[in-house]
Symmetry: C2
């Protein structure tokens, strides 16, 4: 990297950066061409495989003063490449199967640049024009995917100023908060001399309606954003009630019903019940139809967090897994997850187009009453035109294209599950319903012995197995060739002990089963080299009688 030099500070120089494009043979021009022509090659060439410790990377980002002088674009680009790009994460690598960020289709990159160049602001028509009806159409299409209302429904509501079929937002967290905000304001609506919670606040709402508390119910696998929502909305995290799950990480309907009864008996009100369509950790889908029944019985808002699993509706093969979602009052879907759109394309959909009246707001200079400005029904204000990328992805890939992608992801997860189950020294912890699964490494003799172990033996050995899983996951991540994530579950068959597991998300279409076999082999090798961790594990296995002590 050349030492950055000082660029010219003058108005002329500044006008140039606003008027004269980067030359094609400049550093940035070359990078751009490289990106356009071969993104995978660019990333492979620039993202270093070996992990540099974070504290070393931090040394490159240690200055707190804004530089006084300008820097030449080419010098700055060199610096970005060596300091930032080289040490970013290759999320589109087919062996990066640990999180929900995967590969992007090529055509979205130039379109993203076009979107950024147009620099529209979707809060209002005056700064977005055709982007506003486009976003309304995207929401209409996604609404149709979930609710399948007949065409006249969309003719009436899709472009109606006072209504909204949903809201695009930065991500699933904002979508979930928005849905519960709507649910809260609907519950505490204006009534008699009470002007509604939006005006008078939560305490006045509880007092007016005579509720001791307002609760949100979700299975213990609920996403952490719901806890944030309970905090932000003033409900309180203790009123986000976790319901026990069955062996397949699905909410127990009996427990849900009992909890509703208990809350009512305590003078509380169930404000919303959240069903999960694709838990973040294991990809399982709650029995949505049964939850809808309970929500109807107790008069609660029914929200479905389908941030991950919502895209499954695009597959006619698998959409039956989400049966009941069409009864939800609101649904969260992230297009930047299984719809292969870049980061920042979340959305919430509303069954009833007038539901957004609960959160409507106006101002004098924009989002005036009666205007079609999208901002009157969104939690965010200024927002970019990400809806364009969802629109393009839906058109270029088509529903059938998405179906192929989703079907092959699920098939691949099933193949990986079979592969894991056939190993002597790996154990499938949660089988895939969508394309997520969890598993762990267990040395062959211990795995064999665990089949007949007592609960107390399981309790004793689990912490050591957890240590091993954590060690493997971190080491594998650090070698930089492949990445699986880890989480903690409490499976009944492991005596409900907090159990650390590998977590994989098989959404990248370029991941092959051979690569998955290599990942297992790499994990096995890391485990075998971990002499101390292995030693401790076997010592405990002997101590607790899981393995018979053998003479040394």
């Amino acid at each position: 990297m050349s030492k950055p030099q000082t660029a010219d500070v003058s108005l002329d120089a500044l006008y140039r950066i606003f008027t004269i494009p980067e030359a094609p043979d400049s550093t940035l021009g070359k990078i751009e061409r490289h990106l356009s022509e071969n993104l995978a090659g660019f990333l492979n060439a620039h993202i270093v495989a070996k992990e540099k410790p974070l504290h070393e990377i931090e040394q490159d980002f240690a200055k707190s003063a804004i530089p006084e002088q300008p820097t030449f674009v080419s010098d700055h680009t060199d610096e970005l490449l060596s300091k930032l790009v080289a040490h970013s994460v290759h999320t589109s690598s087919p062996k990066f199967i640990g999180h929900m960020t995967s590969a992007l289709p090529y055509f979205l990159l130039p379109l993203a640049k076009l979107m950024v160049g147009l620099n529209q602001n979707l809060v209002k028509i005056e700064t977005s024009k055709a982007f506003t009806p486009l976003e309304r159409q995207v929401l209409g299409m996604m609404h149709h995917l979930v609710y399948g209302e007949p065409a006249p429904f969309y003719q009436t509501w899709m472009h109606s100023a006072e209504h909204s079929l949903g809201a695009m937002c930065s991500g699933g967290t904002v979508a979930n908060i928005t849905a519960l905000w709507v649910a809260r304001n609907k519950l505490f609506k204006a009534d008699g001399d009470f002007n509604g919670i939006a005006q008078e606040g939560l305490a006045a709402g509880l007092a007016h309606y005579g509720y001791r508390k307002a609760c949100v119910l979700v299975s213990e696998r609920g996403h952490y954003s719901l806890g944030k929502a309970a905090d932000i909305l003033g409900i309180g995290r203790r009123n986000l009630v976790a319901i026990a799950t069955d062996d397949n990480n699905r909410i127990q309907i009996d427990a849900l019903r009992e909890t509703c009864a208990r809350i009512a008996a305590e003078g509380g009100k169930v404000m919303a019940i959240v069903g999960i369509a694709g838990t973040t950790e294991t990809g399982h889908i709650d029995p949505l139809d049964a939850i809808a029944d309970v929500a109807q019985e107790v008069g609660a808002h029914f929200h479905v967090d389908a941030a991950w699993g919502g895209a499954t509706l695009l597959s006619n093969t698998h959409r039956h897994l989400l049966a009941g979602i069409e009864r939800a009052d609101s649904v969260t879907i992230d297009a930047h997850k299984q719809m292969y759109v870049p980061m920042g394309a979340g959305m919430v959909l509303f069954k009833d187009p007038s539901l957004v009246h609960a959160i409507e707001h106006h101002a004098e200079y924009v989002i005036r009453r009666g205007s079609k400005d999208l901002g009157s029904h969104t939690m965010e204000g200024s927002r970019p035109g990400m809806a364009m990328l969802v629109y393009s992805a839906l058109h270029v890939m088509g529903r059938e294209g998405y179906q192929l992608l989703i079907d092959q992801s699920i098939e691949k997860a099933q193949a990986f599950a079979d592969l894991i189950a056939s190993q002597d020294d790996f154990e499938l912890v949660t089988a895939p319903e969508l394309c997520l699964l969890t598993y762990r490494y267990v040395p062959a003799p211990i795995k064999a012995a665990l089949a007949h172990a007592s609960d107390s033996q399981k309790q004793q050995i689990t912490p050591l197995l957890n240590q091993m899983t954590k060690h493997i996951q971190k080491s594998q991540r650090e070698t930089g060739q492949s990445f699986v994530s880890r989480t903690k579950l409490t499976p009944q068959r492991y005596a409900s002990q907090p159990t650390t597991v590998f977590r994989t998300v098989l959404a990248n279409p370029l991941t092959t089963v051979d690569m998955l076999a290599e990942i297992l082999q790499e994990q096995r090798q890391i485990a075998e080299r971990a002499v101390l961790t292995q030693g401790a594990l076997f010592a405990e296995a002997y101590d607790c009688g899981l393995l018979a002590k053998e003479p040394r």
Copy 2:
């Protein structure tokens, strides 16, 4: 536009879109080159000047079904160009001076594409790596810009896992909500047997501390996002108290103090006082130092909404206008406004790096306790790496580059104010403090007569003048050559009548004073052609005795 054809539906075809770039001579390839080589030319060539009515545009976005079959990228791109791009808003046009979205420096476009291609997710290190320390540095630099702490402060806190100097977010609205969320949770912190509002909720917090209500105070010029925040946080909009402003749209400190006393007398608690550094409508800056004094006296959180004006701190010439901002507990700044970064680069800064403990949260699979994952202190979850674009802009332009841009914007606004004041038929309504100003058209004889008008005459003529301003603004927008926005103010010298005004934001460095003169001339011509509106206006002027009736 060619009729879209059906593309191939096969896994092979899908793999191709993930692995084979768009050919340089494809439609999309050509667009991309055009964008790179001449963005302004591209926009001028593609964005149609004449406004097409929204209801006609909506016809192009009317389908609610997701297409079954894929479409060729080139066909889809043609469609996007004719339906969407042609009818988008030319926000970077130097005559688009109505809102806060302006031109972008060229180098940010390829960098934005790189950012999108890397597809990092800033919620956690595992999907962002070097982007995490980069974002922390950007927050550190902006913190330093506002608070100017000495270097050791940043060495200690900038990269500390349990601390945060701020949070990047999608925009100023999320930033303001985050700041007030922190303020609320700090006020209702854990105490004795009360576990804190995050756990127990707002009603329990009010009860524990014995407050009848929690209030947020801001001048009547406060941004509408603060109302949303009061709603979402459960405070209630009626507890967002608007304080009267002086003739320069600045909060009246006496009124603020009186309101604090009244709230205390009513058993309420002032949770936060918000100072505005650049009101959205007029660009005025509250007396921040004086507000800081009041906030200190009553023990309230002091937040500054500098979404627009924060960038002024980059100019040594004008940063004194924001004196006192360094006493704020939190500050909102939007880099996508006066820092010339694309849409989606908001941020909130915290004076005290441990303030974020009030909103800390964790999960099992990410943002674990002790990790440096940014997500443990943000309202949003998954987020793109927009911080990179702020980082690049700060480096390539340097503080001195920004200073030139900001200084010339303010000078241009002053020149425009002088130009308006020198016209017989235009009237400056609010003079620029930053680069915003408001004005209106008033026919010369009426303008002359208004200088000696009674309050009741002003009351009678104002609605007619408002009608004229609204007509001019809409007509000018529809001709598509230039754009100013409009809002309503209540200036004392117009008998505090709701007065419709033109609002301009002169941030685009390519806007010239000649263009501003053309905009006035265009407005004058629209006014003169508006025979009916003129007629009604003059009739009222005669009726109320503002003009002497002349024989016909």
